[in-house]
């Protein structure tokens, strides 16, 4: 049986891994139980700053601490990071202060809380900020490794994690193969390349299996870093497969699909089909139901793959 886990648990683990570094501090906005920073808070209350339900304050407290030599990890729900967008823009990104913002419960997959909690635009908005690295890992192992790597960077980041469990893909992986800015080829094929992030990576693997049964051999890429995008890998996929599908639990506007499209139009070109939230708000539903309602599940990725191939 595949192990199932939520990426937010990988984040919580990573904070504990990082705790040996006395400069690492954790900032919370009354959602530590949910984003999983609570483990760090329990172990290191003296290095955990509760900001109450005040996301805007939290971001700038982080900026002040970063400017004073600390390495702040701040978290809340993905949707509420957006509340502090301008703080992130003017107070964090502009002065290039290494505050690491984590938004958990991202996407419609977050489920029955409904549309107010389902961020479908976080990746887009943070991608527009200069200096900011944008990550959306697909399992707890890679989330843990990438979070740990962030502590060594000198610029700010936004990382989306998910509330609900998905299949773990990297239990036996060599940690060196997971690097910020480097996509991971999970399956190699040459008919079409499916480039996915977050909870849709495992859906894409399912889609690749379904395609295989119809004689279509797809590559599957875990593009956990949306910015900087691994353009080299995209170019390789264009050359090898000649047709691309992107898949993300995020509005089709502005996220991974857009990042790949921006790259394609300026480089080697191939037809692109984007699987993403069809520019609408979500609603209450179970995680798996939401993937169908939003047309994100494996069968829609299969459809998109065929369409991309037909456009070659």
């Amino acid at each position: 049986m595949t192990r199932m886990a939520a990426t937010r648990d990988g984040y919580g683990q990573a904070l504990l891994d990082l705790a040996d570094n006395p400069k690492v501090v954790v900032l919370e906005a009354d959602l530590g139980k949910s984003t999983k920073s609570l483990h760090f808070r329990k172990a290191h209350p003296e290095r955990t700053v509760s900001c109450g339900i005040g996301e805007q304050n939290m971001l700038l407290v982080g900026a002040g601490m970063a400017a004073s030599g600390y390495i702040p990890f701040a978290s809340t729900f993905a949707i509420f990071t957006e509340r502090a967008f301008e703080q992130m823009r003017n107070g964090v990104a502009r002065p290039n202060l290494a505050v690491h913002l984590c938004g958990s419960h991202g996407g419609t997959h977050t489920g029955t809380d409904g549309s107010s909690a389902q961020s479908i635009e976080d990746l887009a908005v943070f991608r527009t900020l200069p200096n900011v690295t944008v990550l959306h890992p697909c399992d707890d192992v890679s989330t843990r490794i990438l979070t740990t790597r962030l502590a060594g960077t000198k610029s700010p980041s936004y990382m989306r994690t998910a509330r609900n469990k998905t299949p773990v893909l990297y239990d036996d992986i060599d940690p060196d193969s997971i690097q910020i800015g480097k996509g991971i080829e999970l399956k190699d094929g040459n008919d079409v390349a499916i480039i996915a992030c977050g909870v849709l990576v495992s859906e894409s693997l399912k889609a690749a299996d379904m395609l295989m049964q119809e004689g279509i051999n797809a590559s599957v890429i875990d593009m956990h870093t949306l910015k900087p995008l691994d353009g080299q890998l995209v170019d390789q996929m264009v050359e090898r497969c000649g047709a691309i599908v992107t898949a993300e639990d995020h509005n089709v506007i502005g996220g991974l699909g857009s990042a790949v499209a921006e790259h394609l139009v300026a480089n080697k070109f191939a037809p692109l089909e984007m699987v993403g939230v069809p520019d609408r708000f979500g609603e209450s539903g179970q995680a798996d139901e939401m993937l169908d309602v939003m047309k994100l599940s494996a069968k829609y990725i299969v459809e998109a793959a065929k369409k991309a191939i037909s456009r070659k």
Binding site: L38, S50, G52, I53, G54, G114, S115, E283
Partner: protein
């Protein structure tokens, strides 16, 4: 205002039963803040709100904004009691396509005046409703329910300052002071010191009550409506108990956002007098 205190208490009891049923059925949701607010919302809807359940979009209705929109089961139970939605609709709480979305949503549920869920937004929205009512020379009022944790959002204080500046006597806030937020007790997360003094300093009329004593609740609502308190915005600080009415939920931060299991559900029904022990 033909309802007696005993009538109101009985409506609130029935609403408590529905709240627990909703979160138990969904195995998700927010019972704690629904149970702390329920006596207040019950009295407000049953005795004060100028509304027409058969015409939920009536222009001149009073507005009620549940700014702590996660405590939606409480509001849905009252809307069903008032006839905006049916008791059958309550079964759609957190179910795909349901009228009763996880957080109150004006696009999905008749009688809901604002789509909440992000804390710290309702008071500003209420100020907009109150300002529009004034421009329309309408008697309608905007009631806004906020949480104590919610009060930590800076935007609450932007709205508080602005509403007093504009002397919005038709804007009325009820604060559900249950002393607990998501992760823990407010005292641990973010101390708020002298809350009545803070609102007074922002230029508001302030009264404190016990939010579970129906007589005091009615006095509190009288205060909000009193002509002498319509010179500017007013706030009723209701001291409540998170999870009120269910022993194991009371004052227990774990039941901010967690559902009872089957055994706990049964116990709740016993405590609410719905079933025999």
């Amino acid at each position: 205002m033909s309802k007696s205190i005993a009538d109101l208490e009985e409506i609130a009891r029935k609403c408590r039963v529905e709240i627990v049923k909703m979160v138990h059925r969904a195995q998700a949701g927010h019972p704690g803040g629904s149970l702390s607010e329920i006596d207040l919302i019950t009295a407000l809807y049953a005795t004060r709100m100028r509304i027409r359940p058969e015409q939920p979009d009536w222009d001149d209705r009073d507005r009620f904004i549940l700014s702590k929109g996660h405590a939606s089961p409480g509001m849905y139970a009252v809307l069903a009691e008032m006839g905006f939605i049916s008791h059958e609709d309550l079964k759609s709480y957190r179910v795909l396509g349901g009228v009763c979305q996880g957080h109150v949503d004006m696009k999905w549920c008749p009688g809901v005046d604002f789509s909440a869920g992000s804390l710290g937004m309702g008071l500003s929205f209420g100020m907009g409703c109150a300002t529009a009512a004034r421009l329309d020379s309408s008697e309608r009022r905007a009631f806004v329910m906020i949480g104590d944790g919610e009060m930590q959002e800076g935007s609450v204080w932007e709205a508080a300052m602005a509403a007093a500046h504009h002397e919005l006597g038709n804007l009325k806030v009820i604060l559900d002071r249950n002393r607990i937020q998501n992760d823990d007790f407010c005292e641990e997360q973010m101390r708020m010191f002298d809350i009545p003094a803070k609102w007074k300093a922002f230029g508001w009329n302030v009264k404190e009550i016990n939010g579970h004593d129906m007589t005091e609740v009615m006095e509190g609502l009288d205060f909000l409506e009193a002509p002498e308190n319509c010179n500017g915005p007013s706030i009723l600080i209701a001291h409540t108990i998170k999870g009120a009415g269910i022993s194991y939920m009371e004052n227990n931060p774990s039941f901010h956002g967690a559902a009872p299991n089957d055994e706990q559900f049964h116990q709740a029904m016993v405590e609410l007098g719905e079933v025999e022990a």
